[in-house]
């Protein structure tokens, strides 16, 4: 088990830089998820930690060693790939023991470790089978098992669940979480799925276009998204973003239709400056007796049982808006609704830099 530290890590392919100086440290035993849209560089970063991609600049440390120049095999890491990369011509047992065999671990020791790991992963009956004869979930577990038997300092996961169907994915997600807690091995997990990221990670590193947008706990990211990108990336349905301007006294936002939304604080911004106002759909309430802040006509209604999502075209200029209400609300489209929201659930961003300003 080791900590990992990234110090201004960069990666270029020829003249184009795809990773722009990423720094951050991952504690011993921590489970960190790198999350971002496809093409943001998250897999590249993981592969740089693994030693599968060279490092153009900066430094990666695993434990006390700088690993920049080390071969993947020398870094004492294990990796689970998206397509599992099981060796198709070897049995499950041989797949799991291959790395140990190369490291010249004694036969008895190999057998003990593989059997122990198979026990944990409930793979014991399948040790003699070939990967072809296994189901998707079982293959996934073999890939994990191959990583676990190595007893590495670090686990690396490259979108390991994306080849599974939705139901299995939820189940395996829980298994991975339990396993990581039980083994306590420092883990770095890459995914584009924000729900997976939120449920698995102790901390999340949100990556966008090769830079870190925010690195924090799931609750940090949800409550205090540092940037517009993080705000819209985390949460489902996504956060509503409205255009607005700062009021005279900088303590409220004025929407294009003239509605005034008080912030409960004073912004450090010029009066009249345009801003983006973010509201999560689940934080918007139906207004009761006169505390309405804004209103709109419903368009499409999604009744999900546990909650009801009301969509609307909000005003003329701005984008669509979604509101999530608990429980069942029998409403038809075209109804006029009035809404309210608590000031602490408002997020204000500078549209230029995308940074949070409240």
């Amino acid at each position: 088990m080791s900590n990992i530290s990234l110090d201004y890590v960069r990666k270029s392919y020829g003249p184009s830089e795809v990773i722009h100086g990423i720094s951050g440290s991952i504690q011993q035993g921590e489970f960190v998820v790198i999350v971002g849209p496809s093409g943001c560089g998250k897999s590249t970063l993981l592969r740089m930690i693994a030693g599968l991609e060279s490092i153009t600049g900066g430094e990666i440390q695993i434990g006390k060693r700088v690993v920049n120049k080390l071969e993947p095999a020398q870094r004492n890491i294990a990796m689970v790939f998206q397509n599992y990369a099981l060796y198709p011509h070897m049995s499950v047992f041989d797949n799991m023991s291959y790395g140990l065999k190369i490291r010249k671990v004694p036969k008895e020791e190999i057998r003990r470790r593989v059997e122990e790991t198979a026990e944990i992963l409930e793979l014991t009956p399948y040790l003699k089978r070939s990967p072809r004869q296994l189901s998707g979930g079982q293959r996934q577990r073999v890939a994990m098992g191959r990583a676990i038997v190595r007893e590495p300092d670090v686990f690396l996961f490259d979108e390991p669940l994306s080849n599974l169907d939705a139901k299995l994915r939820v189940q395996m997600r829980l298994e991975i979480k339990k396993l990581q807690e039980r083994l306590g091995i420092t883990s770095v997990y890459v995914t584009h799925d924000q729900v997976e990221a939120m449920t698995l990670g102790h901390r999340l590193m949100v990556l966008n276009a090769g830079s870190v947008e925010q690195f924090g706990t799931p609750i940090d990211l949800y409550d205090k998204p540092a940037t517009l990108f993080v705000a819209t990336f985390i949460g489902s349905p996504a956060m509503n973003i409205l255009n607005g301007t700062v009021s005279e006294d900088a303590s409220s936002i004025i929407l294009p239709e003239g509605e005034v939304i008080p912030l409960g604080m004073r912004l450090n911004a010029q009066a009249g400056a345009s801003v983006n106002l973010g509201m999560r759909p689940e934080h918007i309430r139906l207004a009761t007796n006169g505390n309405a802040l804004f209103s709109f006509k419903s368009d499409v209604i999604e009744e999900l049982g546990a909650d009801t999502i009301i969509h609307a075209d909000f005003g003329k200029a701005t984008s669509s808006m979604a509101v999530r209400l608990d429980g069942i609300h029998r409403v038809s489209s075209g109804t006029q609704f009035s809404f309210a929201i608590d000031p602490e659930n408002l997020h204000v961003f500078d549209p230029e830099s995308g940074k949070r300003i409240n």
Binding site: A50, G51, L52, F81, A85, Y98, G99, I102
Partner: protein, 283 residues
Amino acid sequence: MVENRPFFDTLTHIILILGVILIAFPIWITFVAATHDLARMSQAPIPIWPGSHFFDNLKLALEGKVVSGVDMLPVWKMMFNSLIMALMIAIGKIIISILSAYAIVYFDFPFRMGFFWMIFITLMLPVEVRILPTFEVVASLGMLNSYLGLTVPLIASATATFMFRQVFLTIPDEMLESARIDGAGPVRFFFDMLLPLSRTNIAALFVILFIYGWNQYMWPLLITTDSSLSTVVVSIKEMLDSAERTPEWNTIMMTALLAMLPPILVIVSMQKLFVKGLTETDK
């Protein structure tokens, strides 16, 4: 079949059977000729049904008494030469092709593409178009009348290299990555992963190349003047020439039968591999 037309179905089988007869007839006639004695084979019309002298002819051929009065290498020795040549060509081509494909796909090194194009060029230089200067090279290297001279110049293979390259490109990248994380170096990776993973391709290629090697004609004709090295395929021509004087078709056709037997056995018994090899290698 899409619709029920009993007449058409029968016609289908009739046509196919006619096709089979057309294809098999020359081989059948060869077999028949190899079962009669010299006397019967000297008078027209020759028979179309087998006779009873198969083993006599087999014995004559194997002992080298194909053409009376001509001292010839026993056919079994010729077949042994053919076998050595076919195996050396097939195995040699497979080894050097798989190694160069491995280098080209899994390593980045200066002149990589240069080497690739050099191998590609061999595709455009069949032995027939450079026969004389190649002969001179082999002669000047002192490789005439040797197994090496017979096989080595035929061993370079662009098609086999391309096939292995294709096979390697379909193996997921993660296989290498995973193996490297497991600590496998280039040599280990080759023997533990690539070789077993391309097993069926190697077998399919072997079938094709064995036939190719066994059936070589122009090259051995030129390179081997020493009769102890002659291959069975090449010697058929000599026998044909003598047939114009003494038409000992019974033993000549027995030799022809023996000469085509190994490749036919290979094709028929390994049909799946053969079809795979054929469709995958041919460019």
